[in-house]
Symmetry: C2
Subunit: 253 residues, 2 copies
Amino acid sequence: MTTEYTGTGDPAKSLELLWGTKNPPSRGPRPALTVERIVAAAIEVAGAEGWQALSMRRVADALGVGTMTLYRYVPGKGELLDLMMDAAFGELDRRPHEGTWRERLDRVARANWELCHRHPWLLNISMSRPVLGPNVLAKYDHELGAVDGLGLSEMDMDAILTLVLSFAAGAARVSVEQSQAPQRTGMTDEQWWNAHAPILERLYKADEYPLAQRVGTVVGEAMQAAYDAGHAFEFGLARVLDGIEVYIEDAAG
Amino acid sequence: MTTEYTGTGDPAKSLELLWGTKNPPSRGPRPALTVERIVAAAIEVAGAEGWQALSMRRVADALGVGTMTLYRYVPGKGELLDLMMDAAFGELDRRPHEGTWRERLDRVARANWELCHRHPWLLNISMSRPVLGPNVLAKYDHELGAVDGLGLSEMDMDAILTLVLSFAAGAARVSVEQSQAPQRTGMTDEQWWNAHAPILERLYKADEYPLAQRVGTVVGEAMQAAYDAGHAFEFGLARVLDGIEVYIEDAAG
DNA sequence: GGCAATCGAGTACAGCGTACCCAGTTAAAG
DNA sequence: CTTTAACTGGGTACGCTGTACTCGATTGCC
């Protein structure tokens, strides 16, 4: 269950904040806060208490200031989320690429997968169009380097990168939700299966969903063995890279 | 920007609702509503007025009943969302598969892509573990049929299907967000580019992000030509299926 | 010293999901 | 037929959200 953006914020203001295009005030009192501190506090709250606890009041409390004080620095919550995303992207390794394109893309995928696990709230944000902050741009630039020099068109480079990133995010989403499910629903995996057992049994006896039964049983057991999400990522990544390989070799040949 | 679910609902109750395991009351007045009508109204509201307008009060208004009346039929909003998802999945074509596995998976991907466009709110829901409703189960069963009979293990079948579905959802997410961006941000594409132009120009002159500039320019122009999202889906789907093909042929050979 | 700008923050409002309560309705039990 | 238990409809209220508005306090420039 999700809500959308307020949309109140002027993108020009977000950009000003992201790029620090704002000369310090000459008159009034010295600002006691900085945008950076607010963003850091917000990330802290989101990490420690979860996405649903991330409210303007909670961030203000964490900083020991009044709620409305935040609005002196940030136009609104939507913009704060944009800034958080840009800050998180700054954590990514941006050293020059090494190895083959496949090794590069593999590392890009794993880096994003890992980042989504470190900051699960990213998965709730990046659904919106990213505001072009410095780290967003640098990330894009760096990751494009993984598929540069292969003779691909710009469109192809972007499409391939988009595919890999979208896959990594999708797989991470599944993984994160799965690991959060127990505390979100307040029931363990076992309780969950017990809750579903009576109905599943009835249906399986009726043999209405034979394939789902066969596969679901095996997968269900594997899920309980904590096998699942990482496996899905590894498997999918290999397939995606294979598919890209076919394309690149065809284009070269 | 998103919020999470309340988690108040007992999954056992959701299942009762989904499978109609509830004998009609013997005493009291006849219920004026049905769960189906509530779900239909909720889908209607979500489709007509958007995800952010989907509130319990709004759904109740649409049905001409008091807000709290809904809670006689549905434990909470989270469960209502589960029911909506199951209902939407019921719209999918479930006729027997035809053609090669590749044609089948292609159709599965397109069907999901299309469904996500018809009911964009699905992308905001399915993040949570799906409650196993009849249509959820039937969808799983049917889609597994696309990769049945190829000698794949159950784990592989599930992994391949998961990959295709996760890709389709990811691509649809991008596409939907892009088409919704103008009304969400209240600015046209042109306004958006104009807002970003000064900063982008400054950065590009500094040549700090050479690749991003080169690729971004081309992609940006293509985006304005409304080329983009559908293209990314077609491109990615072909690559994903190619990758799966490599795997299937290796497994067979 | 006066003015203009800026900061911090309390108050208030509209909206949300929903717990709680009570009046009205119906069928079963006596 | 009366009583009773079960059930429905829904109003009120609580705690939460983001944030518009407004105020006094503070600071630097003229």
